[in-house]
């Protein structure tokens, strides 16, 4: 799946990747890659601005630690982020149900007038 197809859904994916606990940027990308069986064709570097944007919106919170002499920034889901994720999940289920109902093969459509 290409980056442009992800437009509008990246935030939900990032929030979902942080639902299980704090992760740093690279670990978020690894988790997404693993969950999607590597089908996510997204330049790793582009998730960092998205993480910063979610942090500015108060949906995730970042903190620095030092690992092997290098500073590392990790993010955790905030309460507002958890609520936003629930909302995005519900929206996605509705959208998926509508599209599945409309596009399913063999589904009878009303006859044209």
């Amino acid at each position: 799946m290409r980056a442009e197809e992800l437009k509008g859904h990246l935030d939900a994916l990032l929030l979902a990747a942080l639902e299980g606990g704090p992760r740093h940027g690279y670990a978020v990308m690894e988790a997404l890659r693993e969950t999607t069986d590597g089908r996510l064709d997204l330049p790793t570097g582009t998730i960092y601005p998205a993480l910063r944007r979610l942090e500015a919106a108060g949906l995730i919170a970042g903190s620095w630690s030092v690992v092997a002499g290098r500073r590392r920034r990790s993010y955790r889901l905030t309460e507002a982020g958890a609520r936003a994720l629930s909302g995005k999940r519900a929206d996605w289920r509705d959208f998926a149900a509508i599209m599945t109902a409309a596009l399913e093969e063999g589904r009878p459509w009303p006859s044209p007038a």
Partner: protein, 191 residues
């Protein structure tokens, strides 16, 4: 492990535009990507090339940061809400017959020039494609908006003979915008 020159050059290109903490975070992610490829048996140059290809070219990263820039978002919000505040002030000035006030021509020209400059700065921040210039224009635009609102709040009540409700409404919209702009400035200044 010494950093391959390809990685150093890549990070230098990002450093020219992005704040140091952001580059530090990217460097950590890139380092982990590089180590994964080295762990797969690639030599240093091939691993660095593969890590950069996976991470994205600097222009791609910079464009993504510019799109997500707090300064750009702040500028777009101010440009979108600007006509509401301007409309309130226009109604207040017309109903108060502002043209009959004893205001020096120089002061009128200065307010007009400032308004045009601030709008230009906000437009540059909203549409620019360089992270650093978007940040500078957005910051200057936000400060300019707050300065314009403060000027109107202080100067107009002194010039107007009687305060009417359109003026109170316009003053309220400006006061609210000053508070919101001040809150917006913190993430904008943080980059």
């Amino acid at each position: 492990m010494a950093e391959p020159s390809l990685i150093t050059g890549y990070l230098t290109e990002l450093s020219a535009q992005l704040p140091a903490p952001v580059v530090e975070e990217l460097a950590d992610g890139l380092d982990q990507t590089l180590r994964r490829y080295l762990g797969q048996g690639l030599d240093t140059t091939a691993a660095a090339e593969a890590a950069i290809a996976e991470f994205g070219q600097p222009q791609v990263i910079l464009a993504a940061f510019t799109r997500a820039s707090p300064a750009r978002r702040a500028a777009r919000r101010l440009l979108a809400t600007g006509p509401i505040v301007a409309g309130c002030w226009a109604a207040a000035l017309i109903t108060s017959r502002a043209w009959s006030w004893q205001v020096p021509v120089e002061a009128r020209i200065m307010v007009g020039v400032t308004l045009i400059t601030v709008t230009g700065l906000l437009a540059a921040a909203a549409l620019g494609n360089q992270y650093r210039s978007v940040g500078r224009a957005g910051t200057a635009g936000c400060i300019g908006v707050a300065a314009l609102d403060s000027t109107m709040l202080i100067a107009v009540p002194l010039a107007v003979p009687a305060v009417a409700w359109p003026l109170l409404l316009a003053a309220t919209t400006s006061a609210v915008r000053i508070v919101l702009t001040a809150r917006t400035l913190r993430p904008v200044l943080a980059g």
